[in-house]
Amino acid sequence: MSTQATQVAQRSRLLAWLDERFGTGSVEEFIRHKTVPQHRHSLWYYFGGMTLFLFTIQVLTGILLLLYYRPTPNDAFESVQYIMTQVRFGWLIRSVHSWSANLMIFAVFVHMFSVFFLKAYRKPRELTWISGMLLLFIVLGFGFSGYLLPWNTLAFFATKVGTEMAGSIPFIGKWILIFLRGGEEVTGATLTRFFGFHVAVLPGLATVLLATHLLLVQHLGMSVPPGVERRIAEGKEPARSMPFFPTFLLHDLMGWYAALGVLGALAAIFPWELGTKADAFASAPAGIRPEWYFVFMFQTLKFLPPKILFLEGEFAGLLGFGLAAAVWIAVPFIDRRAGFGRVSRFFTGLGVFALGYIAVMSALAYWH
């Protein structure tokens, strides 16, 4: 049709204009030829995009919240209360921000474990894995710092306990504690710091890492699991793929829309609670516990005896988690077998163990 032909012509004129100035032609070319492998594990490819989408929602709703939020101990709680009660749709923005944060952390974990089990970290994607792990820590940092910002009792004490743990590290623990809290105690100074981390430091780091992560993904393409690769090599399965644009992106969009629906429903039916304003002199409320994604660590520390060998129990626990995290990050370098495209049952077992451990510990914590 003529109108469509004009549209196409206009579109290419615009692209040409942009290409002249930005060199977008290569990008367009790249996107046109980008494909996503298609096999029985393809579903897991969507969780990276889902995380990215939820992160975008966080950025947008976070910016909106900044219009009214005030990060001082006198005003923080009141300003969130104001957002929840007085500002039109404030309840929606804040609830979506809180719910989306939780869904994002869930999506990040799913993404990370799927990559782990599908051995997508193996050569040459070591850096993708490392940048992803760092992003995971940053996301957890977002969660931890954001939790305190409404300055309610539960968050106040959870932060107190959380930062206290850092203090159990020998030699530098005290310093870390003071760095995190902005003093000996959780006070207004802590709130100011956490706000700074939450809206400036972490977003900055996240942007750089995210850019690296995405560039690496584009550069290296999606990893095909070794099992699938072998089957293709053995001729048991054809090597299928779908174009990234538009098919994969449209699939992505469907998932994102579904997520939006879920977020809206959660926000409207279960608006995020506000709790009561933090009072440093009140006694800690019963059953304080960190956000669910920290619960497995919290529960582990609870089970540890006060003294392990010559170490403080709590520090030993943290040391354990630190080492586990280090090993986890270094997995692409340790897991040689996967690097050569062979089966590495040990690391699959390790992943199952980690997943099981997190599940059991969390379940135990919520059981009581």
Binding site: L64, N74, D75, E78, Y257
Partner: protein, 153 residues
């Protein structure tokens, strides 16, 4: 897009039109339903923001010596008292007995709860009647024309 000619195959083309309509309409409407709350959110509400950590309880000169005043402190009432000597004192006005609102008695110069005749002295201590605990005391600062009451940090 060469395959968009409806004359070629009639029914898939109609289906495609439907799909495009559904997609375009759905996307537009849903974006509208996302933008509407966001735009409404950006417009600040008429009600000014208030804080409960500190509050302007009165204006200077509003209270004569030996009088008291109830003010809203967050979600609970507070009581501001101007003593006979002209100083200010502020407490939570929630009686520690059954949560009634206390008042200042200029005759006895005490804080008094009308529900069960509980009395507190001007330090907030429960001196007679059923109250089991003293009243929470707030700090009072005179800032220019404003008498600012704040929770003790």
């Amino acid at each position: 897009m060469p395959n968009l000619d409806p004359a070629q195959t009639d029914s898939p083309a109609r289906g495609r039109r439907w799909a495009n309509l559904l997609l375009g309409g759905g996307v537009l409407a849903s974006i509208g339903s996302f933008l509407y709350p966001a735009l409404r959110y950006i417009i600040p509400p008429a009600v000014a923001e208030s804080t409960s950590r500190s509050v302007i309880a009165a204006k200077a000169g509003e209270l004569k010596p030996n009088t008291g005043k109830i003010f809203k402190f967050g979600s609970k009432p507070g009581i501001l008292i101007r003593t006979r000597e002209g100083g200010y004192k502020a407490f939570s006005a929630v009686c520690t007995h059954l949560n009634c609102t206390v008042q200042y008695r200029d005759d006895t110069r005490q804080i008094w709860c009308a529900c069960h005749n509980g009395t507190y002295d001007l330090e907030g201590r429960n001196v007679s009647g059923p109250p089991p605990r003293p009243l929470e005391e707030f700090t009072v600062n005179v800032q220019g024309e404003d008498i600012v009451v704040a929770r003790k940090a």
